[in-house]
């Protein structure tokens, strides 16, 4: 019964899908009843606190915890010594959650305590004596790549080169993508522009700090309650780190106060579990905002060279990019995705993108909404914009001329399926925003963006209750309203009103494995699985109806929420509604439920075009965002309000990245702005309304045509705003954030 991409036809007429229904978790969230990570308590609970390195790079000679252990109320102290051998796949996680031989960045955890009160835990932290040997550090990506840079990991030899080097360095790996003869392509061009760009690291900035409550019994069974984008991932990683059976650990995902990729890994959960194991008491650990910024995962900071050739008619002849991403103290920056996404919007004969994954004394980067892509798009779209300006060409026309389209070869290799880039460009060109007049010191910017979108491992269970209502259990934490959209897809398929379906996030013991909520996959993959589960249940209900009527199941169809004879030949039978069948479920064969366990495939890539107007104050360098319009392909907007919400939220995160957000490190390698005061995310008064235009080019890989929408929206804004500011200021901006001092400097005023 599962949907077969390419074989089954796509549904285009909907009753519930496409409507703006109230969300199932709404009431709890507007009344304060919703329980987030830090809101859970347990009897006998202890408070856990983590001691963090004040140094960017230091050898840990010795940790003396004896005085901390002696504090009244302290029940456990753990260090790296409490985390034993573990599988290779989680080695870096183990090093990151608790420093072993070296502290690798300011904020790196070195010890943790659990005590009966926060005050006692705080007192104990102060009494832990760590003997550090401070080492030279490096935080800038270009500096880290220099041969003279301090080597952070002497076992790191650059991969991806023709020959593995003999000397260790901070360059973990080289990646290359592309096709065609780039040099020849550049030679053909009427104009070639080459520029270097830099972007600073930004943080996902979710408002809810990481929080968890772990409880481990002496029988080896444990429970974790935490805010995460993937509780199955938490189970896997924590059980591996503590040498437990995976099924002995049950993880329940709390309501999650934002993630944006930052909660796709673990930081405090294994520590809380280790503290609980040692103290034999439940332990709650909640990060402070400063800990979130210093020690969870921000993005990479980057340094990027772009060279693009264009003919006078706007044809791009070749594109070449070298991307250097610093991903913190461990390998694994998002540079391959940046390199793959850099030119994805263009159908090019010759293209090359080379990426370097670089380590530095900063927190290990984590995914942030389309990881790696915004910075690459920023650099490429800036040069395309400059070429358009130099050749006096319209930036939307040029993009339409070169746009990737159905079947064209993507810059990262494969050929595209059905895609919606052109549709977004055409929508932008037809929109009144594009023709609106600009005033003095004002400018307009255009940019496009792309993200892959994922499917992945997904498990859904749909239970038909005796009263004809539906319990729908999914395993992908809801970070933006996905319970509403998934529930609505199940309701659509079953033909019942949306409010008869209650969608919940089940714990790891109650449902099969699910990949994390990432890659814009949830509405696509959990939605697909929910549709399949509904079809599974429908099949069973049709069997029951066939039994009741005494006809073959092939002669029964499901329509409008009821089983019906498929043709007059099947006999005259009154339709049996879902509620009718559910009421008789016990007597006709037992409970009815539908399941789907899949590795969801067929996620459709997503493109967007953003238009933005800004005004630059030439005396202060202050940039005001005047007007912003997002055009993005959603395939099919299941819940338009939350699709718009994703567009708007991504655009505004991009505005923050472009204008004011940055990790500022001092000369000593410590983070200078570890708080919301100086890590400046946009506030309400900084912004205009964000117009969201939903474009729908159905994804052939989903029964309703759904594409993921969460991530693409953050890809174009960096470039769109930079192009707009460059237009307003009359000077090309090449560094993010475009903070007022940088703008003023670019204007030559200081």
């Amino acid at each position: 019964m599962n949907f077969q991409p390419g074989k089954d036809t796509l549904k285009r007429n909907f009753k519930t899908v496409g409507t703006r229904t109230p969300r199932p978790d709404g009431l709890d969230k507007i009344t304060g009843r919703a329980q987030f990570g830090a809101d859970m308590t347990a009897p006998g609970m202890l408070w856990g606190l983590i001691l963090r390195s004040p140094h960017a790079h230091a050898r840990i000679r010795k940790i003396d915890t004896s005085k901390a252990e002696a504090v009244n109320g302290v029940h456990a102290v753990v260090t790296a010594a409490d985390f034993g051998p573990c599988p290779d796949g989680v080695l870096d996680v183990r090093e990151n959650i608790m420093a072993r031989e070296k502290a690798l960045y300011d904020g790196h955890a070195v010890a943790a305590v659990a005590a009966t009160s926060r005050a006692a835990a705080k007192q104990a932290l102060k009494l832990i004596k760590v003997d550090y040997e401070v080492l030279p550090h490096v935080t800038d990506v270009d500096e880290a790549m220099k041969p003279s840079a301090p080597v952070i990991n002497n076992k790191l030899f650059t991969k991806g080169l023709d020959k593995t080097p003999r000397k260790p360095s901070n360059v973990a790996e080289r990646f290359e993508f592309g096709h065609g003869d780039v040099e020849a392509g550049l030679k053909q061009a009427d104009l070639v522009i080459e520029r270097t760009f830099k972007t600073e690291a930004t943080h996902q900035g979710y408002i809810e700090p990481h929080a968890c409550l772990a409880s481990m019994g002496s029988d080896g069974k444990g429970d974790i309650w935490c805010c995460t984008q993937g509780h199955f991932m938490v189970r896997q990683v924590c059980s591996a780190l503590l040498g437990m059976d995976a099924s002995a650990l049950r993880v329940t995902a709390s309501e999650i106060g934002g993630g944006f990729g930052g909660k796709t890994t673990v930081f405090i959960e294994p520590v809380a579990l280790a503290l609980s194991l040692k103290s034999n008491r439940p332990v709650k650990v909640v990060m402070s905002r400063s800990e979130v910024l210093r020690a969870s995962g921000p993005t990479s900071s980057t340094s990027i060279d772009i060279k693009i050739g264009m003919n006078k008619d706007g044809t791009i002849t070749a594109g070449d990019a070298t991307l250097r991403y610093q991903g913190g103290a461990f390998p694994g920056s998002a540079v391959p995705y940046g390199a793959m996404a850099a030119f994805a919007c263009y159908d090019l004969k010759a293209v090359r993108a080379v990426g370097y994954d670089v380590i530095a004394n900063r927190p290990k980067q984590a995914a942030y909404r389309a990881p790696g892509a915004p910075m690459a798009a920023y650099a490429v779209e800036s040069v395309v914009d400059e070429l358009c300006k130099e050749l006096d060409l319209d930036p939307l026309d040029v993009r339409l001329k070169n746009a990737s389209s159905d079947g064209s070869k993507a810059s990262y290799g494969p050929n595209f399926d059905v895609i919606g880039l052109r549709a977004t460009l055409e929508a932008a060109r037809a929109h009144p925003h594009y023709k609106a007049k600009l005033g003095r010191n004002q400018g307009r910017g255009v940019a496009c963006g792309f993200w892959f979108n994922f499917g992945g491992e997904t498990s859904v269970s749909l239970n038909v209750s005796a009263d004809g209502t539906i319990g729908l259990s999914v395993g992908t934490p809801d970070i933006g309203g996905s319970r509403a959209s998934i529930g609505n897809m199940a309701a659509e398929e079953l033909g019942v009103p949306h409010d008869k379906v209650r969608c919940i996030i089940a714990d790891t013991a109650s449902l099969g494995y699910n990949d994390v909520t990432d890659g814009s996959r949830v509405t696509f993959a959990s939605g697909l699985a929910a549709i399949n589960a509904a079809r599974d249940a429908i099949g069973k209900m049709c069997e029951r109806a066939a039994g009741i009527w005494g006809i073959p199941v092939e002669a029964v169809t499901w329509e409008d929420g009821a089983a019906r004879p498929s043709s007059p030949n099947a006999g005259k039978h009154e339709p049996l509604t879902l509620a009718d069948i559910a009421a008789q479920a016990g007597a006709t064969g037992g409970p009815i439920s539908g399941h789907c366990e899949i590795n969801a495939e067929g996620a459709g890539v997503s493109f967007a075009t953003h238009l933005v107007d800004t005004e630059v104050d030439p005396e202060t360098g202050y940039v005001k965002v005047l007007r912003y319009t997002v055009f993005q392909d959603a395939g099919k907007a299941v819940h338009p309000s939350y699709v718009e919400g994703q567009f708007q939220g991504g655009a505004v995160q991009g505005i923050g990245w472009a204008l004011n957000e940055e990790y500022i490190y001092g000369k000593d390698g410590t983070l200078q702005n570890a708080g919301f005061l100086d890590y400046r995310i946009p506030v309400a008064s900084d912004l205009p309304m964000i117009d969201a235009v939903i474009v729908e080019v159905p994804n052939p890989g989903h029964p309703y045509g759904v594409r993921g929408v969460g991530e693409t929206s953050i890809v174009p804004p960096l470039a769109a705003i930079s192009n707009s500011v460059s237009d307003a200021a009359g000077v090309r901006m090449t560094q993010l954030p475009m903070s007022p001092p940088r703008v003023l400097k670019a204007l030559g005023r200081i």
Binding site: S290, E619, T620, G621, Y622, L659, N660, I664, Q672, N673, F676, L677, D678, R680, P682, V683, S685, D686, S739, P740, P741, L744, K745, R749, I750
Partner: protein, 287 residues
């Protein structure tokens, strides 16, 4: 830690003078609680002055105003007479933090916190405000610009607290204004700030001026050279250029996470110029 909430200024002074270890006055608490949380400040005693009723009031002081040390910036904004007389001071207080912070934050606390970037301080200095200090030896009035010695340091002696900020009666044809620069529209600490107060004669010529700059030196500065650029002029473009130049020349800022030295120097002049126009127009009754 001990918490006291005395009912009279006398009791507060007594507690303050008699306390052992470190003691902090709690007015709005919007700085103190942040410092306590980060571990920067670990007081042994906290004296909450919000139960002292005279300190929670804005009183007319002759033709001027006495703003109790526990009066929040929101209460200042809601006082029509004060807002009419000293709009620059009231607006500067209304720039401190968020609506939530303004519901608690006080200008006396802003002053005692002794940050060079305190928003209300340049405005108070420009307006010629004085701090009423109470201590074991009685009362003294000190000009606001003399209170801070350096970042985090004031001239207050053991046992002393600020009871109120006194704003003088506003002379005729006088206007004040305060502008600051922040990278966002709200919620930031000033990268640079300028408070200006000017008095004009009947012909619109400036007869008196006070110019104060924030966040460009270890303490808020009163820049007499910048004031001189305005006095005797109609605060025209030429005078404004001279004012901006004098302000930039007086600035001796540092590079930090909030802005560069060169940026602060430049923007101090820009802000002074813009604030002077508002102050002039207010003095002329234009706004």
């Amino acid at each position: 830690m001990q918490y006291h909430a005395p009912a009279t200024v006398k009791d507060a002074v007594k507690l303050l003078a008699g306390s052992k270890g470190s003691t902090q006055i709690l007015a709005g608490g919007t700085d103190l609680l942040v410092r306590m949380r980060s571990g920067f400040s670990e007081p042994d005693t906290i004296i909450d002055i919000k139960r002292i009723s005279p300190m929670c009031k804005i009183a007319r002081d002759g033709k001027g105003f006495a703003i109790g040390a526990a009066v929040s910036s929101a209460e200042m904004s809601e006082n029509a007479a004060l807002a009419k007389a000293w709009p620059g001071v009231v607006e500067s207080a209304a720039l401190i933090g968020s609506t939530q912070v303004q519901g608690r934050a006080t200008i006396a606390g802003n002053l005692c916190n002794a940050s060079p970037a305190a928003d209300s301080v340049p405005a108070m200095v420009a307006a010629g405000a004085k701090a009423v200090i109470r201590g074991p030896k009685g009362k003294r009035k000190v000009a606001v610009e003399k209170i801070c010695k350096g970042p985090g340091q004031t001239i207050l002696k053991k046992g002393e607290l600020i009871e109120a900020i006194v704003l003088p009666a506003k002379p005729a044809r006088t206007g004040d204004a305060y502008l600051r620069f922040i990278p966002r529209t709200e919620m930031d600490i000033a990268v640079a700030g300028a408070g200006i107060c000017v008095t004009l004669d009947a012909k619109g010529v400036c007869t008196a001026a006070r110019v104060s700059l924030g966040a460009i030196a270890p303490t808020v500065l009163l820049v007499s050279r910048a004031a001189k650029a305005l006095i005797g002029t109609r605060i025209d473009d030429e005078a404004l250029d001279a004012l901006a130049a004098a302000c930039s020349a007086a600035a001796r800022p540092i590079d930090d996470k909030r802005g560069t030295k060169e940026f602060r120097i430049h923007v101090a002049g820009v802000l002074a110029r813009r604030a002077a126009i508002i102050a002039r127009d207010r003095a002329l009754g234009k706004s």
